[in-house]
Symmetry: C2
């Protein structure tokens, strides 16, 4: 409690100091004051003297109270299409979890190909991949669908935390977690912060990264990572048990318990396929990604697969609406009031002469490993994405290369720690992997991912004509 008060005062102090600093030449006072609020908000998101929703709410109230923004401007983020893409995707995921379709997909895959520990690992990763486009909360995907299966699989092989952990459990836990890291990066709707990235890129660089573009750009490095990383873990951190013929029987038993596919599951499956089709063809149909997600939720509501009370109980959606909506409003006006253009011009001038490739690699590495200091991907994105992408482009890096590479790093940095993002404590908390091992493996996987995503990825994006 006292710690929180100290943190709160620290956050306020930073805001106050910036607020009263002399306004740099070339900036409107309102832009500078908004920057002060923004910095204090982000520091608040990192230190969390209050939950981030409360901080965001207080911040926009303050901007409206002091007249830095008009009330309608301060609230503008709540009507943003990106925000409602996220809200809708949370509700979509609720349908996935509620009907049991996600679990069924995983068990079907295990029954089909789960007869060795390595294959089981790939199966888990594949299950995560299949449902990832519809579950923007990677925590819900991990905690609500995949982790419970991994946990029961481990138990099915008598692998519990302690001496028997390494039998299969440790390997499966680490594979499930690192797989979630990779799938998070692969779709705009696979991690809650990804649509924010697309919005920040639009605000800072004036480019549109569509759902289809993101998925296409991530496809080759993503699949490569999903093939390489589980195998790497299998070699670097091998399970004691290599053959697991019982897994198929276990999955078959669970499927038996679930019974035939319910009408609800069939409906969600149909909606899921339809939404994927509409999302991936949006460049032809001109259908906005948000409208597609809302359509999916509408069909779920109309067929009562999703009840309205489920919607009201989906706190993750409302939490995200408030803090992210507030932030999007602030960030939007930071750009509109001229701060971002001023900032990029200033930085561009200061690094004139440094070759862009050199500057870009340094920026990427700093961006990735700065995540040792964050407990949330979205906090990291919020604090650093706009600035880093602006600086990279100012240094001369091609626009899409910079935007995409930093977008993917924003997810892949999750590999590093046991507190990197919400799925981390879920897998770590199961007790199969000790902290030292987690960090060591995490660092090695991060290097593999950088090589694959930036090395191979940049060639792929070049081939796609993105830069």
């Amino acid at each position: 409690m006292k710690g929180n008060i100290a943190k709160g005062l620290g956050v306020l102090a930073v805001g106050v100091i910036i607020w009263f600093m002399p306004v740099p030449v070339g900036l409107k006072p309102a832009a500078w004051k908004l920057f002060a609020v923004f910095m204090a908000t982000i520091l608040g998101f990192i230190l969390q003297p209050l939950p981030i929703g409360a901080i965001a709410f207080i911040s926009i109230t303050f901007t409206a109270l002091t007249g830095v923004l008009k009330p309608a401007e301060a609230l503008s983020g709540f009507g943003d299409t990106t925000i409602w893409l996220i809200v809708s995707a949370f509700l979509f995921a609720k349908g996935f979890i509620k009907t049991g379709l996600g679990r069924r997909i995983a068990y079907l895959l295990i029954r089909k190909m789960g007869d060795s520990t390595l294959k089981l690992g790939y199966t888990i990763v594949l299950s995560d991949l299949i449902i990832s486009p519809a579950t923007p909360s990677n925590a819900a995907r991990a905690g609500g669908i995949i982790f419970p299966i991994v946990r029961s699989l481990a138990s099915a092989f008598d692998s519990e935390p302690g001496p028997s952990a390494r039998r299969v459990g440790s390997f499966l836990m680490q594979t499930g977690y690192q797989g979630n890291t990779i799938t998070s990066a692969m779709f705009m709707t696979a991690m809650a912060g990804n649509p924010l990235i697309s919005l920040l890129a639009a605000q800072a660089l004036n480019i549109q990264i569509t759902w289809g573009q993101w998925a296409l750009a991530a496809s080759v490095p993503g699949v490569l990572s999903l093939l390489v990383v589980p195998y790497f873990i299998y070699k670097a951190y091998p399970p004691e048990l290599k053959k697991t013929p019982e897994a198929k029987a276990f999955a078959a038993g669970e499927l038996e318990k679930m019974g035939a596919m319910s009408l609800g599951e069939k409906i969600v499956a149909g909606i899921f396929i339809g939404a994927l089709a509409l999302w991936s063809t949006s460049q032809y149909t001109n259908l906005n990604a948000t409208v597609v997600a809302m359509l999916a939720v509408s069909v779920m509501l109309g067929t009562r697969v999703l009840e309205w009370k489920d919607v009201l109980e989906e706190k993750g959606a409302w939490d995200t609406l408030v803090w992210m909506g507030a932030l999007v409003g602030l960030a939007g006006y930071l750009s509109k009031l001229g701060f971002i253009p001023w900032f990029s011009k200033a930085v561009g001038a200061s690094i004139a002469g440094v070759p862009w490739f050199q500057a870009f690699v340094v920026l990427l590495v700093i961006y990735m490993y700065a995540h040792y200091g964050f407990a949330s991907l979205t906090a990291h994105i919020t604090a650093m994405y706009s600035a880093f992408v602006t600086v990279a482009v100012a240094a001369g890096a091609p626009v899409y290369l910079a935007a995409l590479a930093l977008a993917f790093m924003s997810n892949l940095c999750m590999s590093l720690t046991h507190y990197a993002a919400a799925p981390a404590p879920i897998y770590f908390g199961a007790g199969y992997v000790d902290q030292g091992t987690w960090w060591k493996l995490g660092f090695m996987v991060s290097v593999i991912n950088i090589v694959i995503w930036v090395g191979v990825g940049s060639l792929w994006w070049k081939a796609l004509g993105l830069w």
Copy 2:
């Protein structure tokens, strides 16, 4: 379930029929199509084949999908300041209920002046009045604060549903309910639909009814009603027990149990007084009512009187955000696309020649008693307010007279039935008043209220220079 499908098909059919009707001369096709969606939405709110939140969500999705509105236009209501006034006021009320301050106020009043049944009735009504500006959910005010006190008071006098109901319970229940009806009308923040009225009046008539104006206009007729109605119920539906010296002791006992005022209660009391002061002086400070409410919530969050998890669990706020935000977006574009101006011109032409006073009284009476067909004040407002106020003004009624009289009728119609609005089933469900009596008393009270609010009220508004 089957009933709901039939209702759903009926709603769809109405929408489809209007959608494909020839577009009236002078209207853009988009305006007419939006009108079709709007009518289907309102019919859906009345018949409720799905909860109204789901209907609203589906409606805006449909407008964006068909291109009647752009996605950002369809979502625009979610960033509306009126909507966030309501959301914030819901959260404000949560602080009132959670800290127990509302209950304490009621018990203090009872301890001071609760020695006769009539006085008890006035005390209950006064308690409701005091907290009403901060509890826009009149259901929360009734169900969360006042009703539990009324119910325990009745029990304290051995008045239970059945033979002993008339001892004190029936009178107190009916007084509590009719008092809630009146207080709902008295402040813009005393009933969730009231800010919507102010918004609809702004959209339809281009006038701004401020928080202070509303309170001032309602003050004289409101106080008069609060004096007359309990006395009328006391005479028309007398309690068997007239003297209640035990009530003071009961309240004293409850206060004893509550102990000293907690820090949380003191903070909420301070915030409440501060918010009232800022709301009622907004014409001088230019502080927007929404910003004041958000400030109050921010202080509650900062002092942890209100925890962020309380916010996320306040489903009423999220429900209202979705359905009312969607509706405000639709209604706003109905006006912007030219439907409302076209409609008022058409109606104005058709009633040319009828004296305005005559037309106005007929409209008021129809508006009030149409509520026999509604189970929600806000549904009634949504369906009828804009049209009726537009017609009244087109007929020649002074703008503010029409806007205010219909605004107050929108609340006072709650007196009529045992399903008129959410507080009704709460008080009725206690079982102290039978349905026949409820309707009879309700009708008589509605007549008293019309006489006071329109008769005396219109003179008061004249004196205020509002028309």
